[in-house]
């Protein structure tokens, strides 16, 4: 397939980098400031040098990548809330042109799922979004494999930053602020950590899963969200004395969609450590399926994007 990659951050760049290994060609690549388009395949070594120098990925306007002749648009721009723009507009343009879309950007799937599906239904192109939930973990494909209506509950630890903070607080007996500062030094947490530690990121992932299980109708506003800022270190001690720990758990059931700090058995499947994510499906006939792995990181998440590309039907 010929890929147009929109967004050249950690994920977008890793997709471009790994595409050739999976026998796909990158014919267009854009960041917020520029684009490079080449029907014969973008020269990624040249782009790498431009990135390293802090220059835009190419001299063309960013919109040029959207108009290139490609088979699959990879939408890897930063997640935005509300109208999910500009990512949603990029997806809309691609589907209008009957091209496939693979999203790493959570915004359009979490906030405008119904709009997204309507556009896909009217297009010869398909939409996939494995990379939006649990990074490299094949959560979406597994739900599709079981069949969304046979999956009753989905629970998981879906934010590596929050999980790193809780893991360190529990292991070292340190307070939230202290561990957060350490996580920022290590690059595990952003300078503005609210998206992660206040539960928004995990809530977007829960909204996406809920849309898949319920065939739409869910946005971030439907998710009950609590973060981990108010979890005292002593609460983790109390949990540990009872053989438990606290994790920021996202939960989708037939009646609820919520994210919040929850008690889980210390030795249980949900008590993953550090930046690891875990997704647990409660199914009708297959019992409980648990998938765990790296929930973030450019290279790991790019594998989910490219797995989606391989799942797409061929373009006629």
């Amino acid at each position: 397939m010929r890929l147009a990659v929109i967004g050249a951050g950690a994920v977008g760049w890793a997709v471009a980098d790994q595409a050739a290994d999976r026998e796909h060609a990158v014919v267009a690549l854009a960041d917020s400031r520029g684009a490079v388009v080449d029907a014969a395949g973008v020269d990624l070594d040249a782009v790498a040098q431009r990135r390293a120098a802090g220059d835009p990925v190419g001299d063309r306007s960013p919109g040029a990548a959207l108009e290139a002749d490609y088979d699959v648009l990879v939408e890897a721009t930063p997640t935005t809330l509300g109208d999910a723009e500009p990512g949603f507009g990029h997806v809309e343009r691609a589907l209008d042109r009957d091209r496939h879309v693979v999203l790493a950007n959570k915004g359009p799937v979490a906030e405008r799922y119904d709009d997204l599906q309507a556009l896909a239904a009217a297009s010869a192109g398909s939409v996939r979004f494995e990379a939006t939930v649990g990074g490299a973990i094949p959560a979406i494909a597994t739900i599709e494999g079981v069949g969304p209506r046979r999956v009753q509950t989905v629970r998981g630890v879906l934010n590596g930053t929050a999980n790193f903070v809780l893991t360190r607080m529990a292991a070292e007996g340190l307070a939230f602020d202290h561990v957060l500062a350490e996580a920022q030094d290590l690059g595990v947490a952003e300078a503005d950590p609210s998206f992660d530690v206040d539960g928004t990121d995990a809530a977007l992932k829960c909204a996406i899963v809920a849309n898949l299980l319920r065939d739409g109708g869910v946005t971030l506003a439907d998710v009950a969200v609590d973060g981990i800022r108010d979890v005292p270190g002593r609460a983790l001690d109390l949990a540990a004395e009872a053989g438990r720990t606290i994790r920021l758990v996202g939960e989708v059931t037939p009646t609820t969609v919520r994210v919040g700090p929850r008690l889980v058995p210390s030795a249980g499947a949900l008590a993953v450590e550090g930046t690891t994510n875990v997704v647990q499906l409660g199914t009708d006939h297959a019992g409980t399926l648990t998938l765990q792995g790296p929930g973030a990181g450019g290279a790991a998440t790019a594998t989910a994007v490219l797995a989606d590309v391989d799942r797409l039907p061929p373009r006629s």
């Binding site: 005292p232 109390l238 058995p265």
Partner: protein, 179 residues
């Protein structure tokens, strides 16, 4: 305030059904081995109105303890000549741990516990309070609840409702699934 189950691990709730002779001192004789082996009495139903065909009084005793303590309690009861007709976890079938975080003392912790305890089929079998430390302004408490099978949701809902009213944060267990 202490914690139930000093052996470590969490106590579970059990029900023992006994048959006692209807005479003074019999109940005390039955309860002593329970206390002696570290069991925490949750409740006693002394069914004086339903005397057995053999003229004895059935008594149902709910007790919280470690599983190994429970085995010792049942053995001790039998050693003491008490008739144990049933012993198991059948009444309080489920045990849950929940954390409360916030200004627990100012918001009347004892009232909080009483209101959770008031839910039908729910007992607070243990509570541990941790005062704030360092810069943390909030205290934390761990509640151990024993709930009759099917009453866990009601127990958690009661905790949530009291916590909402008192502006406390609840850290609920994940229930269901294999975790």
């Amino acid at each position: 305030m202490g914690e139930v189950g000093a052996d470590g691990g969490e106590p579970r709730a059990y029900t023992v059904r006994l048959e006692l002779d209807d005479r003074p001192g019999e109940l005390l004789r039955a309860l002593t081995p329970i206390a002696d082996h570290g069991g925490n009495l949750l409740g006693i139903v002394h069914e004086r109105g339903s005397v057995t065909p053999r003229g004895r009084v059935p008594v149902e005793v709910d007790v919280a303890c470690q599983p190994e303590q429970f085995d010792r309690i049942v053995a001790a009861l039998r050693d003491a000549g008490v008739t144990v007709t049933r012993a198991g976890e059948d009444r309080y079938g489920e045990s849950v741990v929940v954390l409360l975080i916030g200004d627990l003392v100012e918001t009347d912790l004892s009232d909080t516990l009483t209101r959770v305890q008031a839910v039908d089929g729910v007992d607070v079998t243990g509570m541990t309070l941790e005062a704030p430390e360092g810069t943390e302004a909030q205290s934390s408490a761990r509640l151990q609840l024993a709930a009759r099978t099917g009453a866990v949701a009601a127990a958690l809902s009661a905790v949530r409702s009291v916590a909402d009213e008192k502006d406390l944060q609840v850290v609920e267990p994940v229930t269901g699934g294999e975790q």
